[in-house]
Symmetry: C2
Subunit: 204 residues, 2 copies
């Protein structure tokens, strides 16, 4: 699968290779293993390097979990301000302090999730970013807080050249259908199986 490699089929979509090549992608990272968000932030590094503004929308369990990526990505945003390298980086945590997995869904969280999605729709319409990370966005969809048909239609019709990466378990079939690239992260072995708890710098 090198960039120079032969592709498996040539689609009858009337597009040139260049047009297809530059098509903005909807990417989904799903599965039960860690690495879904981590790989999304790796993609955000590439976007930053291309000079594409990066917007991270974190539908998170707690403020602690992604602090390493947050600090590093925001540092890259500051470096852009200082030197012009790369691109701006924004990082939004919706309903900061949420702890979905510990407390379970409530109406307040649902409302905050919907507000977050409205912000994303507004940014997509305004073409605010070149790369969106919708972190753990599969959960508000799974719980019915955000309408999957609205998500799919909005993403299908988004203007310009905006890449979108959605992470989280149990990605909705309609989201997988709409996506250009879907990766599943699968556990082969995890230290918590051997009685080890999460640790600083590795789990967050």
């Amino acid at each position: 699968m090198s960039p120079q490699g032969q592709v498996e089929t040539v689609p009858a979509d009337g597009l040139t290779t260049r047009q297809r090549r530059n098509r903005p992608l909807l990417i989904v990272h799903t599965g039960d293993m860690k690495g879904k968000s981590t790989a999304a932030f790796g993609l955000a590094l590439r976007a930053w390097n291309q000079g594409w503004p990066v917007g991270v929308f974190q539908f998170v369990k707690s403020a602690k979990w992604k602090v390493g990526e947050e600090n590093a990505m925001l540092a890259l945003g500051r470096l852009h301000e200082l030197t012009g390298e790369g691109a701006p980086v924004d990082w939004f945590k919706m309903g900061q302090g949420w702890s979905w997995l510990q407390r379970g869904p409530t109406d307040d969280h649902a409302e905050a999730a919907r507000e977050g999605w409205e912000q994303i729709k507004s940014d997509l319409a305004a073409q605010t970013y070149g790369c969106y990370v919708l972190d753990e966005f599969t959960y508000p969809i799974d719980w019915g807080w955000v309408d999957v048909e609205d998500v799919v239609e909005t993403l299908r019709n988004r203007p310009g050249h905006q890449h979108v990466i959605i992470t989280g378990r149990r990605a909705h079939p309609a989201l997988i259908e709409a996506a250009d690239l879907v990766t599943e992260m699968t556990k082969i072995k995890h230290p918590m199986d051997a009685g080890q708890k999460g640790q600083r710098g590795i789990e967050w």
Copy 2:
């Protein structure tokens, strides 16, 4: 699997939870799908944020492929020099210009791979880094260029607190056995299936 969550078993290894928690990890990202390296660089962001020096050793197909991550990680290293934030970052490409997948293994590549591994051994002994990314290191092992028993023994006996992340397909069973955490990236859907070629900012 939250940091506060219950672990599945409590090992009889004589260590306290804190000792186990701070144990340096050997992490393997394998499988046929992209995301293995990307997720490794996401982990490197967390290490940088912890102030752990990051060393990336790239056993690469071409200089082009990881340029986004390379530029962004090196930018974080420069930010550390400017402001003291984060940690230093070093990035090594062994046999720059290699193109293993295009040209196939040759004796010269084998020698360069062995030299790279010797450098890594030397850095591990000197505790040069807190986080090592050995990118696509499974291939020189798979091809027999680097002795897997030497790799496993060196990693098992590495001093101090050095996390090591190894990426690549076909991870050797002895490496998986030695690892603390193994994730497999599996393809569900890829745009190249639909005739799309790799694109700037996404594939590299």
